[in-house]
């Protein structure tokens, strides 16, 4: 074995060791690396009221109610992950992207009544990007129910909506 070859193996072995150590560390600290907990997580973990945490999920369709309390907006909505949902109350200005069906991350604490009192609400958007015309065409054609996640990308990422109101045609993939 030449010296160069030996050096190569030493470096590769160090890399393997380092990679394993990093993987183990990250697995061990998984709880503190996650940015937010889903409503199901929260139910499972029995988080005591008052402890500051972040929860995230989708704003349940039809759950948003707004009221003005003096000069501040008071909003209540339910955050769902499909399996469980949680009532969230928030006073303050919501991000532009906030709407039903949208992803949100709320920071705050559980109130004694089991609802979540948020001090901050952040919007979380999905990884789909399309022109509004395409989104409208999909919704008009019934391929995309409002408040639901967008249909599979293959169905729309080359879609070219013709003039408004006309039938949509598929571009060749």
């Amino acid at each position: 074995m030449t010296r160069k070859r030996r050096r190569m193996w030493i470096v590769l072995l160090c890399g393997l060791g380092l990679g394993t150590a990093a993987a183990l560390t990250l697995t061990a600290f998984e709880d503190s690396i996650v940015f937010f907990h889903s409503p199901s997580d929260l139910a499972e973990k029995q988080v005591p009221p008052g402890r500051n945490i972040r929860i995230g999920g989708l704003v349940e369709a039809g759950s948003v109610s707004r009221a003005t309390d003096g000069d501040r907006m008071q909003t209540a909505f339910r955050v769902t992950d499909g399996a469980a949902s949680l009532r969230v109350t928030y006073r303050g200005i919501l991000p532009d992207l906030f709407r039903e069906g949208q992803g949100v991350v709320a920071e705050g604490a559980l109130a004694p009544d089991g609802s979540f009192r948020a001090s901050t609400v952040l919007a979380r958007h999905d990884e789909t990007y399309m022109p509004p015309e395409v989104a409208d065409a999909l919704k008009r054609a019934g391929h995309w129910q409002p408040g639901e996640p967008p249909p599979p990308a293959r169905e729309w990422n080359t879609l070219q909506p013709a003039s408004a109101g006309a039938d949509t045609r598929r571009a060749t993939n």
């Binding site: 074995m1 160069k4 050096r7 190569m8 470096v11 160090c14 890399g15 380092l18 990679g19 990093a22 990250l26 998984e30 690396i33 996650v34 940015f35 937010f36 907990h37 889903s38 995230g56 919501l94 991000p95 532009d96 992207l97 949208q102 991350v105 901050t120 609400v121 952040l122 919007a123 979380r124 958007h125 999905d126 990884e127 789909t128 990007y129 399309m130 022109p131 509004p132 015309e133 395409v134 989104a135 409208d136 599979p152 990308a153 293959r154 729309w156 990422n157 080359t158 879609l159 571009a171």
Partner: protein
């Protein structure tokens, strides 16, 4: 090491190391890179300007993010090059560490500042995108934090490379730092899949079809290719500078030794 080798050692076997030495000869590198550089720079400039203008003026706005989606055309290519550049840095460091090739050491030292600038662009534009869309300039989620760590790795590499009076002595510790930092690359890439993050998962490289409409994807890919060429041109130009600086140091050292010894060929 133990016992006689089964086959007699062939000193000039075409191993990877030999090939590296042959193709990475500084003189040859200077000739090749000198010929390549103008084309690389021109292609990078043309593609970047085309892609950015396309994204800024002609690409449609996004159904949920409106015009802020245009930040993507600079943020995402910068992020690709922040990570791609680090792959280049790690490969150069590995070659420098194992084969002790000076050209690899110089390339590693010169890639780092370029990578740091692209990472800074990624972080700044990401922040400018996060405020209007997420409602915050910054959060400590796994994706954002790991990219910030990437930036600090670049900065640390630059600092370490310049910490020694003799730049050649800095190469080995800097290479070790670069290789240790490489563990961060899969963390960045998969952070959005392994953990809950505020940052959304990948759109372009996700399984199945890209989650980006073709009218938005095309300018993104053009800019991405443009940034790749710009990055390569900058790294190549800086590596040429590093080689010239090394030659200047050697010439200066030779001149200092001139009166005493007979001049010998200046090794570069």
């Amino acid at each position: 090491m133990d016992g006689p080798p089964a086959t007699p050692p062939a000193p000039k076997a075409p191993t990877l190391g030999n090939a590296l030495h042959r193709f990475a000869n500084p003189g040859r590198f200077m000739r090749l890179s000198g010929a390549l550089l103008p084309w690389l720079a021109a292609a990078g400039l043309a593609l970047s300007v085309t892609g950015l203008a396309w994204g800024l003026v002609f690409a449609p706005r996004d159904w949920q993010q409106g015009d802020t989606v245009r930040i993507m055309f600079i943020h995402v290519p910068a992020a690709w090059m922040a990570m791609g550049g680090y792959v280049g840095l790690a490969v150069a460091s590995f070659i420098g560490l194992v084969w002790r090739h000076p050209l690899a050491d110089i390339a590693a030292r010169e890639i780092a500042p370029v990578g740091a600038v692209f990472t800074a662009i990624c972080l700044i534009t990401g922040s400018l995108w996060g405020k209007p869309m997420w409602g915050t300039w910054w959060v400590w989620d796994a994706r954002l934090t790991s990219v910030l760590v990437l930036f600090f790795l670049y900065v640390g590499h630059i600092a370490l490379s310049n910490a020694f009076d003799d730049p050649e002595r800095a190469a080995r510790p800097a290479a070790i730092l670069a290789l240790i930092g490489a563990v961060n690359l899969p963390i960045i890439k998969f952070s959005v899949d392994w953990w809950n993050t505020l940052h959304q998962p990948a759109s372009v490289t996700r399984l199945g079809a890209p989650g980006i409409h073709v009218d938005i994807l095309q300018p993104l890919l053009v800019t991405g290719l443009g940034f790749l060429f710009v990055f390569a041109a900058l790294a190549l130009l800086r590596t040429r500078t590093g080689i010239l600086e090394r030659r200047a140091r050697a010439l200066m050292a030779a001149r200092a030794a001139e009166p005493a010894a007979t001049p010998s060929a200046v090794a570069v």
